[in-house]
Amino acid sequence: MSELLNLESGRKLAALVAILAALVLAPFWMPLLGGYTALGTRVLVLGLAAMSVNFLLGFTGVLSFGHAAWFGIGAYGCGMILKFIALSTPLGILAGTLAGGLAGAVLGALIVRRRGVYFAMVTIAFGQVFYYIAFQWSSVTGGDDGLRPFYRQPLHLGVATLDILNDATAFYYFVLVCFVLAVAAMAFILRSPFGRTMLAIRENERRARFLGIPVELHIWIAFTLSCFFMAYAGSLYALVNNFADPRGLHYSQSGDFVMMAVMGGMRSFWGPLLGAIVFVVFQDYVSSVTINWQIFIGFLFVLVVLFFPRGLLGFLQQRRGA
């Protein structure tokens, strides 16, 4: 049996190495398939956002339909630092992450008693509040035009300067490092005793409660962590675009993230990244052909949900297991 376990963990390690290798080498193999480096950067950031949504959805069993709010606050926070306060990329990321994460922590405390559809509805409502603030408060946020101009700043690493503004490949690797740090933190938490209480709540809230887990507290912590990851992804997104857009806070953006997570496979750790790859690449190609690209994404989503209820990655894993 221990051989079986070793086989299983060996497989996981091999998959991890393969994923990392593919990401590290992406600037070299993507152009061969007609891709370009900036597309890879977008995939990483949106994939991180989808994984953050799934941290809550897939591993705690709580569906937030307003997570774009924390993503958007992260983007505006980062952008405002760069535009108004200091020309520092790390400071922008830090500020954006804190702003979105703390906002999520405060609002999360108000809603953790809600469950299921009610929780989803309340998160939509809160998300829309932030959307309208960003949309209406033109003097600060730039309103409908978005927040601009600001630019991500080259990184000064003591001995050398990494020009992430003009060198797309350098920026890709910068985002990849940021991505790996966040994903490692997520994986670490999910493997901890706290992470297992999240699974317990997902699996059976009543049993969790009668094991002595204060369910509301644990959901709040998981929600807050997820908001911090989300805001961090949002900060990076502001750097990707050199622009923060009120539509980044809209509930339809939240819906896109949920769609990526569900399409990729919400019970698997890497599923949402696969979902983001499919979503972003599909969007990139189809939107160059027709402006009605969302119809095709929607169609694809329906197909996946109907025929692969465990998502694309869940389906692939099942086939391999069989």
């Binding site: 049996m1 079986l4 376990l5 670490f188 938490i189 901890s192 005793p193 706290f194 992470g195 297992r196 209480t197 699974l199 317990a200 699996e203 059976n204 009543r206 049993r207 409660r209 009668f210 094991l211 002595g212 887990i213 204060p214 369910v215 644990h218 912590i221 019970r267």
Partner: protein
């Protein structure tokens, strides 16, 4: 001192009086069965003790402290663990993972986002002990949702036991089981009672199980206290016979 004192508790749902002025005292080390015809209020009574419901009237004293209005999780921290009539486990996790969560919560690790090697191996060892005691070792790495009902129930009991409770509440532990499963679970409960000196209160329909296990029996009927005594006394009690046989006659 008595471990559990339930004093004159009542619970009504609207105009339905599910539990009507019932009292019960359980001594440390005792195995108490609560029996009664369907609709007697047994499960509601259990829910009041475990904190799933709060009484409309009356008090619940556990180990000298009033726990009447404590939240379920807090009652667990004080040492009251329970199982449910319809088994409540974590179906998409393995038995080992189910038990591990219970052991970690009981060990006070539930908020830790990292775990030292020592603490981790301690937890693993406790899980192995629980598996061995329950005879589930061979199935430890299978998903609980895929197992037979009896194994799921045993997993649930072992999860409750992992909490190191001072009072274990079992709601119909043999419900829906075949003869062999019923026998196995009965043996497991007997072992916990005899070897671990665990105080247990259980609801049970199967009279063979009740008379085999219980030190004392309390009988409820239509939400009210009907009788209490040793198995021999209860078997000879006319009011109890009337309550059960009356159902059949009617």
């Amino acid at each position: 001192m008595s471990l559990l004192q339930v004093k004159n508790v009542s619970k009504n749902f609207g105009s339905l009086l599910a539990v009507n002025d019932v009292s019960m005292t359980v001594e440390p080390g005792e195995l108490r069965a609560v029996i009664g015809p369907n609709g007697a209020g047994k499960t509601t009574f259990f829910n009041l003790i475990s904190g799933f419901l709060t009484p409309s009237a009356g008090r619940i004293i556990f180990d000298g402290d009033d726990v009447t209005h404590l939240l379920p999780a807090r009652r667990v921290w004080r040492g009251i663990a329970r199982t449910f009539q319809i088994t409540e486990v974590f179906p998409e996790l393995t038995i080992r993972e189910n038990l591990r969560i219970a052991v970690e919560v009981a060990g006070g690790y539930r908020l830790r986002m990292w775990q030292s090697r020592d603490a981790d191996s301690e937890v693993r060892a406790s899980v192995v002990d629980l598996l061995e005691m329950s005879g589930l070792t061979e199935k430890a790495d299978r998903l609980v949702g895929e197992l037979a009902h009896g194994d799921q129930r045993a997993t649930e009991i072992m999860m409750a036991l992992a909490l190191k409770p001072r009072l274990l509440l079992l709601d119909e532990p043999t419900a829906g089981m075949g003869d062999q499963e019923t026998y196995d679970i009965t043996q497991l409960i007997r072992k916990l009672h005899r070897e671990r000196k665990l105080t247990i209160v259980l609801i049970e329909h199967d009279m063979r199980v009740v008379f085999h296990l219980a030190d004392r029996i309390m009988v409820l009927d239509q939400g009210k206290f009907l009788a209490e005594g040793t198995p021999q006394e209860i078997a000879a009690n006319e009011a109890v016979q009337a309550a059960y046989l009356g159902k059949v006659a009617a």
